[in-house]
Amino acid sequence: MLKNLNSKHIQRFSYKYLPQFPISPNSPKLGFSRSQIANYRSNFPTTIMSSSKTIVLRSSDGETFEVDEAVAVESQTIKHMIEDGCADTSIPLPNVTSKILSKVIEYCKKHVETPNADEKVAEEDLKSFDADFVKVDQSTLFDLILAANYLNIKSLLDLTCQTVADMIKGKTPEEIRKTFNIKNDFTPEEEEEVRRENAWAFE
């Protein structure tokens, strides 16, 4: 393994293979605690630990995406994987296809690039980006919800869930079924019972 190390590896692996702390027989073989890594990083010379670190993400269909760490950690899931030292070569995301992952990365990039919108222009720009971002077909929209949930990206999850809620608001049950192609599998008696139970809602 050591003979395959090049400078790129040393950037990523150095905190693992060149620890400052003595390894006792009782300490775990791989992986230091989060506080050890954080402590180590803060002591390590900054010339070796690059600040513009990139992370490689691998989608379920095998495509890889290289993104800045700052963009990748918009996802709490990825952030914890990096902190736990699982981000060696690439992070596999078996639940996310390349099509959806590229959209998610686009969203995270935009939100990281936009400075915390105190400026009205930046805020408007981000709002209109978000509005356009969710103008997709339902299959993509629900895949985005699942991805945002799995990757734990709160703002994207809020945005996509709100979009679905807006598609339900103000519609009659029949209209909602039509919008989402939901099959009504009630028997006539059951449906009558539900209508009676909550009659006030259906007036």
Partner: protein, 175 residues
């Protein structure tokens, strides 16, 4: 979570979502809109009962009343019918947050009693009762409301850390 996907249409994407995501969506609707989804299909029937917050803030109705007082009786009828209906159908054993906001007078003490009994039964963590009666001249200025709850009384006291009670503009006469 294993679910039988056989009965679904091939382009019914929303029903492939796990329950907790659908509940996230329902939590962004008003209570009425959430209850309407109970008739969509058997899967949706009791989903709304998993909502942790029941917020009966009748903003639109209150605006209507402010614009024209003649709407008051109708809106009040609809509002109480809505809350009573939800209380009957909500089958989850617990509820985190229960919020009432409407103009109600002392004729409604027994109705509000039932609402509070429901809140106590569901072990609410946060109860808001906003009856706004002092704001309007045409409603009674004092509202002597007797709180008769047949439950351990300490569940509604403010010094219990798990229970928070906000009671605005209501004079409570105890005992």
């Amino acid at each position: 979570m294993q679910r039988n996907l056989k009965g679904l249409n091939s382009n019914d994407f929303i029903s492939r979502m796990p329950d907790d995501i659908l509940i996230m969506v329902l939590s962004r609707l008003s209570v009425k809109e959430a209850v309407v989804t109970s008739i969509l299909s058997t899967r949706w029937r009791f989903l709304w009962c998993n909502l942790k917050t029941l917020n009966f803030d009748a903003r639109q109705a209150l605006d209507n009343i402010d614009n024209d007082f003649r709407f008051y009786l109708l809106e009040r009828y609809k509002y109480t019918k809505q809350v009573n209906g939800v209380i009957r159908s909500y089958n989850h054993p617990t509820l985190h947050h229960f919020r009432i906001r409407f103009y109600l007078t002392c004729e409604y003490t027994s109705v509000i009693d039932e609402w509070l009994k429901f809140a106590v039964k569901k072990k609410v963590e946060s109860l808001e009762l906003d009856l706004e009666t002092n704001q309007k001249n045409y409603l009674h200025n004092t509202f002597n409301y007797s709180l008769l709850i047949q439950a351990p009384i300490n569940t509604l006291t403010t010094h219990t850390t798990t229970q928070v009670v906000y009671i605005i503009y209501v004079t409570i006469v105890c005992g």
